[in-house]
Symmetry: C2
Subunit: 125 residues, 2 copies
DNA sequence: CGGAATCCAAGATGATACTG
DNA sequence: CAGTATCATCTTGGATTCCG
């Protein structure tokens, strides 16, 4: 480590327990955050569409995840003032940047799944 | 969706709740899994070295995380039969592949942190 | 439809003590 | 040193209910 603490904090350092980058990273890599980011890559989605696409997520967790990603500036929320309500979720430019990297990770795992499962040991996590 | 369910499961699909790829993804993107993978990129590490490098992790969680990543075939554990014990952790070839993608994500967040924090809203997750 | 609010179960995390 | 075991706690996650 050649850099001083102040420098590392300015630039962000996930190895520092109090660095905000850890929080961002947690939101992005959260159980549903990953899937939301990947799901929104192809197109904007309504709340209920996301719920269907991301099988297994509850309303509560999806709403919570979307709020966190919106707060971090990765997701844009547009509510059309109509009845019944109509809300569109899409990626911001920054969101597009992260989601690209998240998807690369997810894609690699999906494609490598067969060999991963073979190499997998019997030990349970 | 043009592919049938059977095909999607063969190849891995993180949007399928029962697909093993979701479990792998969770282990890899877990709170400490991400940091372990990035930490091991530069070099092999002993248990205590990892604990120091990944500030904030408890012994229990580090051990648990390492076991999960080892079970998935991403981390190799080598215990030298000496007293006191000496254990080395390193990445397998597959582990190197995932960690590369994980690091790209972490790096982007670290470097973009300033602009992310500016765009961040006051809403709390 | 798209949530917010509430309650509760389950899992993740941590501090501490102990051991080969 | 490198863990394991135990217990306490904090956070996640889900089901349900209600509302504009």
């Amino acid at each position: 480590m050649s850099s001083k603490l102040s420098e590392r904090l300015r630039r962000g350092d996930v190895f520092e327990p109090d660095c905000p980058s850890r929080t961002i990273l947690r939101n992005v890599t959260s159980r549903w955050g990953v899937l939301v980011l990947v799901a929104l890559r192809t197109q904007t989605h309504r709340f209920s569409e996301l719920r269907r696409k991301i099988a297994g997520v509850s309303e509560k967790m999806l709403a919570q995840t979307l709020q966190a990603l919106e707060a971090d500036g990765f997701v844009r929320r547009e509510a059309l003032p109509v009845i019944p309500p109509h809300v569109e979720y899409s990626l911001t430019p920054a969101g597009h940047e992260v989601s690209r990297r998240v998807e690369e990770l997810a894609d690699w795992i999906e494609q490598s799944l067969p060999s991963i499962l073979q190499a997998r040991k019997a030990v349970r996590s």
